[in-house]
């Protein structure tokens, strides 16, 4: 068995493509991810901060305070062109033509309407399909401020003090007392994303070399000669399985280490509040626990990938079979992302989902170590059963000589 393992490992280390998938990708994927996250968030913030939208307002004199607020807002610039706008249709045409980004139509004097015990309806014309939806929110906010002032003044004129007004407008105020700390809160939000990234990488660490170890042997014509050596099929399978496990574990180790290193770098040098809050309390022990949980998962994937690969007649056929396997792995991870799906003594027995849930709990800092033990046990049992199946399959002539 050791001879098979040694030889397979030697071949694996001489295969550039495998090295790229097993080593380079996990090392590169985390910095890339953080870099993209930082870039996107900073770009979005910068654009939102700097972008100025041209607007036109009709009947602005009916609400001069509001009109002034819009005029002095840093995100808005009054249209200074030659066109004149009198109706909502005019504003719509101008927005569609790109003459202005937004049009505001005030149909009546809001103060007078309020005095008449009526609600004034203002219209904001803009293109909602564009990624500038905050236009509407900003105008709404300014209108609310203006409306609040009108209401307050009106009620004051009726002799209702500001405290009384607050009580009338909001008779019951519900205050949230959150027991979750920042880590738990953010861990819940992004903790599910980490297994989504880690587990497929573990799978990739097993599947890519597996194709070469099974179907590749058939296609090259080396399998038959290997079967004619005086080692048992069990030894042969174990040799190949251990190679895949080593590859998968290598990917896992590199991935977890890479994650640790890049999180530290991100926290130290880059101002990524979300990452910092979620991971600052993550200890080396937690990372170690994530690694340990991924080991039996690696064993499951190694057995599955080897079984599939040995069934396939050719390299290409094996690749075709591996694609549904990847889909099959994503599904249980997605289950772990669903709301209200939590790590319990029941979910601890669902392969892959259990590990995804446990990783989320570890990141949240709320992991139950008894359940982790249960997960480890359940996953080892599944991995063992799959390995036994793999050995059985390796003994079947109609699989080896399809």
């Amino acid at each position: 068995m050791f001879e098979v393992f040694k030889k397979e490992l030697k071949e694996l280390l001489r295969d550039r493509k495998t090295l790229i998938f097993v080593v380079a990708l996990p090392v590169a994927i985390f910095p890339l991810l953080f870099a993209v996250m930082a870039f996107i968030s900073s770009q979005a913030a910068l654009e939102a901060e700097q972008e100025v939208h041209t607007y036109a307002i009709i009947n602005g004199n009916y609400a001069q305070d509001f009109t002034d607020k819009v005029f002095y807002h840093k995100s808005f610039a009054l249209y200074k062109g030659d066109e004149t706008f009198n109706t909502v249709e005019d504003l719509t045409k101008a927005v569609k033509a790109g003459t202005i980004d937004m049009g505001i139509y005030l149909p009546s004097d809001a103060k007078q309407t309020l005095d008449d015990a009526k609600q004034s309806e203002w219209q904001v014309v803009y293109n909602d399909a564009k990624a500038i939806n905050f236009l509407f929110d900003r105008v709404k906010e300014l209108a609310k401020e203006y409306g609040d002032t009108l209401r307050t003044n009106k009620l004051l004129s009726f002799g209702v003090s500001e405290e009384q007004q607050a009580a009338i407008i909001e008779p019951i105020k519900v205050v949230k007392v959150d027991t979750a700390d920042k880590r738990e809160n953010l861990g819940e939000k992004i903790g599910g994303f980490i297994p989504y990234l880690l587990i497929p990488l573990v799978l990739m660490g097993a599947t890519y070399p597996a194709i070469d170890l099974g179907a590749g042997e058939k296609e090259r014509g080396t399998l038959e000669t290997l079967l004619l050596t005086p080692i048992t099929r069990t030894q042969l399978v174990l040799g190949k399985f251990v190679t895949l496990l080593a590859s998968s574990i290598a990917t896992t180790t590199i991935t977890v280490l890479s994650m640790g290193v890049w999180i530290s770098v991100a926290i130290a040098f880059v101002d990524l509040a979300v990452v910092k809050n979620a991971f600052s309390s993550l200890t080396v022990l937690d990372l170690g626990l994530i690694f340990v949980l991924l080991l039996p998962i690696a064993a499951i994937f190694s057995s599955l990938a080897l079984a599939i690969s040995i069934y396939a007649r050719t390299f290409k056929e094996a690749q075709n079979y591996m694609a549904p396997l990847s889909m099959g792995v994503i599904f249980p991870i997605m289950v772990a992302l669903m709301p209200n799906v939590e790590l319990t003594s029941k979910t601890a027995f669902i392969p892959v989902t259990n590990v995804a849930l446990a990783i989320k709990e570890i990141i949240k800092g709320t992991v139950d170590y008894t359940l982790v033990g249960l997960i480890f046990l359940a996953t080892v049992i599944v991995a063992g059963a799959l390995l036994a199946f793999c050995v059985k399959w390796f003994n079947k002539e109609d699989v080896l000589f399809r």
């Binding site: 001879e3 030697k10 000669t225 005086p230």
Partner: protein, 262 residues
């Protein structure tokens, strides 16, 4: 000595095969199975070379795969030097060297690593591996390319490496399945010389081929299979007599025609 008696092997028909069945059904097919080998017997003694002949699809490869223990026969026995290798395949694997025209090498390993790997899988000691490899590399004139990766070798070099791999463990019997198919003249000559060398050493060799000139050149015995059944097993002279001429083609055709009539 190797003795093969009453070998039978059937394969389950695939769904696709059943769907695509035509009226022109092979007599070896029934509803569920394809009886690839129905009754094959022959023997090859020490120092003999046996040529296994038969048309395409006759069951030669399946027979050789059963002898090499890659496939398990449904019925029949295979004995090598008194050991029943059907019952004890691991014993058989230590005694057999196998090479076919489609046998490959591990491309990312060097020639030396390829040969040494199989030697170690056969349980040879480090010292024995080194000595045997050196002997084979000299014998087959391979020293100039033993450190090259197999993926970078020419066809001739590959076949030499394959020969070395097949016999590195001093097998009692060597089985060659169409070993010269697709090879150029020089490489074919290497294979022929290799078979001659084995014969001189007294190692029984069974090889399947479509080249009757190779049979005339190398074989002491001939076995013919047609549609999974042995239809001839005898010496080269006996084989020639069935054709009533020195032309082996005629003998081969006569045997096939006779077997069809039966």
């Amino acid at each position: 000595m190797i003795e093969v008696a009453g070998l039978k092997k059937k394969f389950k028909l695939t769904k696709d095969h059943k769907k695509n069945k035509t009226d022109n059904v092979d007599p070896r097919e029934d509803k569920e199975f394809f009886h690839s080998v129905r009754d094959v017997s022959f023997q090859c003694n020490k120092g003999e070379v046996l040529g296994l002949l038969g048309p395409n699809g006759a069951g030669k490869t399946t027979t050789l795969r059963m002898i090499s223990t890659a496939l398990k026969p449904d019925e029949g026995s295979i004995t090598i030097s008194g050991h029943d290798i059907v019952k004890k395949p691991l014993v058989g694997r230590k005694s057999i060297g196998f090479l076919s025209g489609s046998t490959g090498l591990y491309g990312r390993l060097t020639v030396k690593e390829n040969v040494e790997y199989f030697a170690r899988l056969h349980g040879m000691s480090k010292k024995a591996v080194a000595a045997r490899c050196d002997e084979l590399f000299t014998l087959l004139d391979m020293h100039s390319f033993i450190d090259k990766r197999a993926e970078n070798l020419s066809t001739g070099m590959k076949q030499k490496a394959n020969i070395a791999r097949a016999v590195v463990h001093h097998p009692d019997v060597v089985i060659l399945d169409e070993p010269t198919t697709g090879l150029d003249i020089m490489t074919t000559q290497t294979v022929i010389n290799f078979i001659r060398g084995l014969k001189e050493q007294g190692t029984p060799v069974i090889f399947s081929t479509h080249h009757l000139d190779e049979v005339a050149l190398l074989c002491d015995r001939v076995a013919v299979i047609n549609q999974g059944i042995s239809c001839f097993d005898g010496t080269l002279d006996e084989f020639k007599q069935t054709g009533q001429s020195e032309e082996l083609n005629q003998a081969f055709m006569n045997i096939l025609t006779e077997s069809r009539n039966v």
